[in-house]
């Protein structure tokens, strides 16, 4: 789709970015004892006291709890990383997750080779970045501020890279700054027509979604009349092209509506608002902080935070002048995070699921020559699984929860799990041998059960006897040939298929 930029001869004033920096920490205290009520155990009884508690969880984590934390905050973790989290304790582990570390040059250079192919480029960071929590949050914001690369072509494809860098840069920063960047982000300006909204024929698209999707939620506070008024505040922004790789947002003053706007008239004084004023007046409404608080709680913990919990989080968010990091810290260390209401209550998205499994298996992408083809197939599978990154189905992003369970989408997840690169420090192909019982013992009869237990253990699954029996049948090929009697070169394939089947266990898809 093409778009028109109104550069012409108007005076171009570069938009100023106001950076609000206020790093106050929320003062959460309160010792929660580790109330280890049956992780991965029974059904959801719906609404325990822990499930609504933001009080701090005990510092000592069990191995299952440490794995749960890593699945929610870092997609997944190897058995060794889980053990490290147990050793560190909750507070230190969360601080470690929040600390942004330099990405090794190997991955930066590899990722850069993919230029504007965001699914592949991002996949390298999702699999390899030492900052998985930052990537996890970038995925969260990408879904909330859903924007697609399908509206840009040719040289404009680079605008998708600028957008992608922006959301990854801002993912744990200041929400006000984030909204300011987002509103004038070139891809967003094209995607929601912000760059095509002159005062004489304003375009409502951005104004509507700014409230409905980005800041307040559907039908909260605003009327259709408010949307028409707020649209005026966003008028006059457009894009100036200066080079092949860049497009700079500018104010085209002649096309900005400078009249007085009556926006949310019962709450807000009429005034000549521009887009910065719109962001400020929106954040002044307590509903805005609550919207973010609820969304982040739901993303990290479970679907049903109480109003009290949401209000508590929202107030801290306002007090910190909209810093995202303190809220994330508080959520990850809360009792609610580890409550039986939370554990296992979420369906992972296809990307989160597959990235989580591969991180658990210690799988890595080394070099374009050997891995580029597999990376390509992996990203294609994930597209077929319903999640083509930076190409969401619509402005509202992906529909989550049970909507992920479209048959073909599940089937494509299974296909994605067959895209194997190299495992562990020895870069073995086919299997993570360093995590499995040594192959010298694969001719022993008992090895079958041990392999099944080992693989289940990576995912912290407690298998029933029936499940274990079925999985052993996979290794034994339905009783055609016992696994331990197979030729050594025949064995890996069956272990590999076993891992894949266990990786789509309903308790691995959920987290």
């Amino acid at each position: 789709m093409s778009y028109t930029t109104r550069l012409l001869c108007y005076v171009a004033i570069t938009l100023m970015t106001v950076t609000g920096c206020n790093n106050s920490q929320p003062g959460t205290t309160g010792d929660g004892s580790n109330n280890g009520g049956g992780l991965f155990g029974g059904g959801n009884s719906g609404g325990s006291a822990e499930g609504q508690s933001l009080a701090k969880h005990g510092d000592q984590l069990t191995s299952d709890e440490a794995y749960h934390l890593m699945r929610r905050a870092a997609f997944g973790a190897t058995p060794e990383q889980v053990e490290q989290v147990v050793q560190m304790g909750l507070t230190a582990a969360v601080e470690d997750l929040l600390e942004k570390k330099p990405v090794p040059a190997e991955w930066e250079e590899l990722a850069a080779l993919y230029e504007d192919n965001i699914p592949r480029r991002w996949m390298i960071y999702l699999l390899e970045s030492p900052n998985p929590l930052h990537e996890r949050l970038a995925m969260f914001w990408h879904d909330r501020f859903a924007t697609s690369r399908r509206v840009v072509s040719g040289r404009d494809r680079n605008l998708a890279v600028i957008h992608w860098n922006m959301i990854r840069e801002q993912s744990l920063g200041n929400y006000r700054t984030f909204l300011q960047e987002l509103t004038i982000d070139p891809l967003m300006l094209i995607w929601l027509d912000g760059a095509n909204s002159p005062k004489d024929s304003p375009n409502e698209n951005y104004a509507r979604e700014f409230w409905e999707l980005f800041t307040l939620g559907r039908d909260v506070l605003y009327s259709e009349e408010d949307i028409k008024e707020s649209t005026k505040a966003f008028t006059g922004i457009t894009l100036l092209r200066e080079s092949e790789k860049d497009a700079r947002p500018i104010y085209d003053l002649l096309n900005h509506d400078t009249t007085v706007k009556r926006i949310l008239p019962t709450r807000v004084e009429p005034d000549d608002y521009d887009y910065l004023g719109m962001i400020d007046l929106t954040l002044d409404q307590p509903e805005a902080a609550r919207y973010v608080a609820r969304n982040l709680f739901v993303s990290f913990i479970h679907d049903d935070p109480s109003d009290a919990v949401v209000n508590d989080l929202a107030q801290s968010f306002i007090d910190s002048d909209f810093e995202i990091e303190p809220m994330v810290r508080r959520l990850l260390t809360s009792q609610a995070m580890f409550s039986s209401d939370a554990v296992g209550s979420q369906i992972t998205s296809p990307v989160e699921h597959i990235v989580g499994v591969f991180r658990t298996l210690d799988m890595h992408v080394h070099g374009e020559d050997s891995q580029g083809y597999i990376l390509n197939q992996l990203c294609d599978d994930l597209g077929r699984a319903g999640q083509d990154l930076l190409n969401p189905p619509g402005v509202e992003g992906w529909t989550e929860g049970e909507a992920w369970l479209e048959d073909q989408w599940l089937i494509s997840r299974i296909s994605a799990l067959s895209r194997k690169m190299e495992f562990g420090p020895d870069r073995t192909s086919e299997l993570p041998y360093h995590l499995l019982p040594p192959v010298e013992r694969w001719a022993e009869r008992e090895i079958r059960e041990e392999i099944v237990d080992t693989v289940a253990g990576w995912f912290h699954l407690q298998l029933t006897d029936e499940e274990k029996e079925i999985y052993i049948e996979v290794l034994d090929q339905n009783g055609w040939r016992a696994f331990h009697l197979l030729e050594p070169d025949q064995q890996p394939r069956h272990v590999s298929e076993l891992i894949r089947l266990i990786a789509v266990h309903e308790n691995v898809i959920t987290r």
Binding site: M1, S2, Y3, T4, F40, G42, G43, N44, L192, D193, N196, S197, P198, D200, S201, P202, N203, E204, N205, R208, E212, R218, D219, I227, G344, S345, I347, R384, G394, V395, E396, G401, L405, E406, D407, Q408, W409, L410, I411, I414, S415, S418, E466, E467, I470, Y471, E473, V474, D476, Q477, N478, W480, R493, E497, R500, L501, E506, N507, I509, T510
Partner: protein, 399 residues
């Protein structure tokens, strides 16, 4: 090919025989086959005809489809986007309107009396959100409250024809040749394990159970969908959602409803350019579908229903595009629809509004499809949770 009812029953019988034979001695005890046999036994008698639901996501600009091109308000509100007589084919029975020439197959069907356009359809208290409005169309109720058990066509299936293939969604099935567990072991060991796990297990909470249910669905339907669609040959080269719908229709699985969707209709900007790609795509994909079903002798028993979550504004914006509106048209295509214009013709008064109003409730159109095409009573599907709607259309949609 003879009528679909006979064709449908024959396939059901051969289906059971075939799967039974395939598994040999296990057949009688295998709980999976029991499940299939039981569900197939429960089918209620309807017409056995096929209803295809084509959802146009984003808000279809119906004034770019059926244009009141002589109307001066239409022309003045859309200086860039209004269609002129050169852009359209005037309706043979109403010279005030014409169908966009980017939709030749719709023009042909209209001329043949096989296209019914129900004008200005919507629902009370229209919502301008894509998401909410799509939900209203998919669930068939205005007040969702999270208590409605499934989309309306799924509720219909559960009420009248609770079969695994009764309703197929092309998005969910995807490429039928890839449907099922992608096993790479010898002797189908993983496939069997997947089947046993999906049948013998219970999830420890509702969402885990939903995953197991999905696996069970994939398992029960997998082989049939792969095998029955393998032989399909299209009359053309298009490979969109309508191609998949034709594959599934050809599979002879007793399917009553095929759901598909196309996106890209949210044309806030550069609408004229966007439509140059979008409209021919829909037209060509659909034209091939019609040709495919005719080639298989199935068009006679088919009705395709096009709809969108809302129409767009009457006035264009400066982008040039159109923002979210309210009322839109629904389109029925098929040899036994009552061809022509239905509902309320777009008047000058309607065009003077910001958006087209609605005169016909969309549920009335779906209800007519259920009652007069599929042969079921729509009451239990749309009248739940105290919901009411005006079922009056003013004319019959089927002959």
């Amino acid at each position: 090919m003879k009528g679909c009812v006979e064709w449908h029953k024959m396939n059901r019988r051969s289906f059971i025989a075939k799967t039974g034979m395939g598994v040999g001695a296990m057949a009688l005890t295998d709980p999976l086959l029991q499940t299939v046999a039981n569900t197939y036994g429960q089918s209620a008698a309807g017409s056995g005809d096929l209803l295809v639901l084509c959802q146009l996501n984003g808000g279809f600009d119906v004034l770019s489809f059926l244009a009141p091109f002589k109307n001066s308000v239409y022309q003045s509100k859309r200086p860039v986007l209004a269609l002129s007589q050169d852009d359209l084919t005037v309706l043979p029975d109403n010279s005030d309107y014409g169908i966009n020439n980017l939709f030749p197959v719709f023009n042909d069907l209209y001329a043949a009396g096989e296209l019914a356009i129900i004008q200005q359809v919507g629902y009370p208290e229209a919502n301008g959100s894509h998401f909410e409005s799509q939900e209203v169309f998919e669930y068939g109720v205005r007040n969702l409250n999270g208590t409605v058990p499934g989309k309306w066509y799924e509720r219909l299936r559960k009420t009248y024809f609770d079969e695994p293939f009764g309703v197929l969604d092309t998005r969910s099935i995807g490429d039928p040749s890839r449907y099922g567990y992608p096993d790479r072991t010898y002797h189908g060991a993983v496939q069997d394990a997947f089947a046993r796990l999906s049948l013998e297990k219970q999830g420890t909470n509702a969402i885990r159970q939903a995953i197991i249910d999905a696996y069970s669905r994939i398992n029960v339907r997998g082989a049939e969908i792969r095998e029955r669609t393998a032989e399909f040959e299209s009359t053309g080269e298009e490979r969109g959602e309508f191609y998949r719908a034709a594959q599934l229709a050809a599979a002879g699985l007793g399917t009553q409803i095929i759901k598909l969707s196309y996106g890209g209709f949210d044309t806030h900007g550069s609408q004229d350019q966007a439509n140059l790609d979008l409209f021919p795509k829909i037209n060509n994909h659909f034209a091939q579908f019609v040709a495919d079903l005719k080639a298989m002798g199935m068009w006679e028993r088919t009705c395709v229903c096009f709809y969108s979550e809302f129409g767009r504004r009457n006035e264009e914006n400066g982008s040039p595009g159109t923002d979210h509106g309210h009322g839109g048209h629904m389109i029925l295509a098929g040899p036994r629809v009552n061809g022509g214009l239905h509902g309320q013709a777009v008047s000058t008064a309607d065009l003077n509004e910001k958006s087209l109003p609605y005169y016909v409730d969309f549920r009335a159109v779906f209800a007519s499809c259920i009652q007069n095409w599929l042969g079921f009573d729509p009451k239990p599907v749309f009248e739940l949770n105290g919901e009411t709607y005006d079922s009056n259309i003013g004319s019959s949609l089927f002959v």
